[in-house]
């Protein structure tokens, strides 16, 4: 750090201090106090010191934690932009087998043009709603939306209109979070609330053939996802020829790499895996949840393989892990520390059933091609119940000891 930079920082610090009275109680812009507070604490960790109790504190704060999650999302985001571009060109040319690694830059730029506005809208609307609410309720603005704002665009098909992103984000922040008291108090995952809202409110924009492909409908060519095609196995007119047909259309390796159509950030299991490594290495994401989620998915997948009464059930269990939002959900959604189970044992059950129910919904329910979103939301609701039983076991141990004594 050069001298010049230090001077700049000092200058910024001085300016901030100079502005403080304007926003303090009784100041001219008193109403915007919490906005000032949010921006000031964004730039500078405040000079607040401890008063009692532990006089020294750990270096981490919630902002750092959130930042690590955003960092872990970057591989999925970058790959998502590129993949989005690729499928747009596929739809345009009508050639399903368009070489994947050609015109890399064009594809990436096209994807970026599509995706970046969604990110801007999601952050803008979400933070806007938070700013308004924090001002009304008089509590400082929390940084929880740093992650939600990035997750929301990543779990949506690229063709969702921007106004829908805005409506869904506002709904999720308002009904998913603010009614429960803000960051750390929500019951269900914010990003999935946004997705579920769109899924039920505007189904034509969230599923079907064209939404994954840049909105193009080419002649004699229907672009669909693995899940969409697999779903059609349950109907009278399957789009593919049984399990063999679907496995030929989407190879395991392509699906693992993410070279398939799907929501922006969810297609690449590899990108999710890179994020998972970062989350686990830093201890932000729970390894227990991720592993048990995957094991739950495999277990239920194998179970359905064994039953195998319809074609979808015969899709190999390992395939379920790499298609749709399974990997993304396991790494980034199920591990949300606020809405997941909180006890060590609880996390295992939470993850196991989260993964299992996702597969259950996929293969048995003809109405919902993607089970991961619904299963994680369901387990969010169930998490306190799971925790309750884990804690009750601890309480019973203590009561037993009391009786023995």
């Amino acid at each position: 750090m050069t001298q010049l930079n230090i001077n700049k920082v000092k200058f910024l610090e001085k300016q901030l201090k100079k502005l403080e009275p304007t926003f303090a109680k009784g100041g001219k812009l008193e109403k915007l106090h919490y906005v000032y507070d949010a921006l000031a604490t964004f730039a500078f960790t405040p000079a607040t010191t401890t008063s009692r109790g532990a006089h020294i504190r750990d270096g981490v704060d919630l902002k750092r934690t959130m930042f690590i999650v955003v960092l872990a999302l970057i591989p999925a985001l970058i790959f998502g932009m590129f993949n989005t571009g690729h499928w747009h060109f596929v739809a345009e040319s009508g050639n399903w087998n368009l070489p994947y690694w050609d015109n890399v830059l064009d594809k990436f730029i096209y994807g970026a043009i599509k995706v970046l506005p969604m990110i801007v809208v999601s952050y803008g609307v979400g933070l806007g709603v938070e700013f308004i609410f924090c001002n009304i309720k008089g509590h400082p603005i929390h940084e929880g939306f740093l992650v939600s704002g990035m997750l929301i665009p990543l779990v949506m098909p690229v063709e969702v209109p921007l106004w829908m992103v805005a409506v869904a984000t506002a709904f999720a922040v308002l009904i998913g979070k603010e009614v429960f008291g803000g960051t750390g108090m929500n019951i269900v995952n914010i990003a999935l609330t946004a997705r579920a809202f769109l899924f039920f409110a505007y189904p034509t924009k969230m599923s079907g053939d064209t939404v994954w492909m840049g909105g193009q409908e080419a002649d004699g060519f229907s672009g669909a996802t693995f899940l969409g095609d697999a779903q059609s196995l349950l109907s009278d007119s399957p789009a593919v020829n049984g399990v063999d047909g679907i496995m030929a259309k989407y190879s395991f390796m392509d699906s693992f790499m993410g070279m398939i159509p799907g929501s922006i950030g969810e297609t690449s299991a590899l990108a999710c895996l890179i994020g998972a490594v970062l989350l686990i290495a830093t201890g932000v994401g729970s390894l227990r949840i991720m592993l048990s989620f995957v094991i739950g998915g495999l277990a239920f997948g194998a179970l359905f393989n064994a039953i195998g009464v319809n074609d979808y059930m015969n899709v190999p269990a390992y395939m379920h892990l790499v298609v749709g939002g399974f990997a993304f959900g396991a790494v980034f959604m199920a591990t949300d520390p606020v809405t997941a189970a909180q006890t060590a044992h609880g996390k295992i059950w939470y993850g196991f059933f989260g993964g299992g129910i996702a597969i259950l919904i996929r293969v048995l329910n003809p109405a919902y091609p993607e089970g991961v979103m619904l299963s994680i939301l369901f387990m969010n609701i169930m998490a306190p119940l799971i925790d309750h039983y884990v804690i009750q076991a601890n309480i019973n141990r203590r009561l037993k000891r009391l009786k023995v004594a």
């Binding site: 106004w163 009904i175 009614v179 039920f200 409110a201 505007y202 924009k205």
Partner: protein, 233 residues
Amino acid sequence: MSEVAEKVKAPAEPLFSKKNRKLVSDPLSDNNPITIQVLGICSALAITVQVEQAVVMSAAVFFVLALGNVVISLLRNLIPGRIRIIVQLVVVASLVIIVNQVLMAFLPDVSAKLSVFVGLIITNCIIMGRFEAFAMGNKPWPSFMDAVGNATGYAIILIIVAVVRELLGSGSLYGIPILGSPIPVEGYPNGTGLFDMGYMNNNLMVLPPMALIVVGIIIWIQRSRNKNLIESH
């Protein structure tokens, strides 16, 4: 002595005394049957997809509650305590049958849409609640005022919810398209009005969960504006 005192006092109370007016105004906001007492929620969720249904339903409840309250109030000294619930049920059931027959005769469309929910007015907690809590212990006129207040309070919430749901769910109000129509016409492949600009109806609004959320938001706004209603914990 006390009888005399009552006789002297009774005419002194004007029809629209402060107390009586309070009977009407209280249930409109501070003691609203839906948002504060959380009664009659089922019908509020079921029949608020369109404003028309909500209006008809409100009128039906108004009729049943107003007449029922007066009848029960008149009979209050004759009803034996042990079988009062049965008597109340008989009264409300007869009134609901009248309403149902009238609707079937004059508004067959709406009647078909409301289907069982007219019949289910019998079990609407608001009605039995007012019979039990008010009409059984008060004179006919205050009972009537109480019924007016509660039925109106119920109607207000029902209609607010229905307006939100119909406007956002179907783009219309009372069946009149406000935001345009999603049905494609010549020259407008996406529909007319806002729909031409890419707007879409919100399907979630048509589903019952959204009615619950809308009622929840109303409760939220009401409670945060009215300091009396904020609970300590």
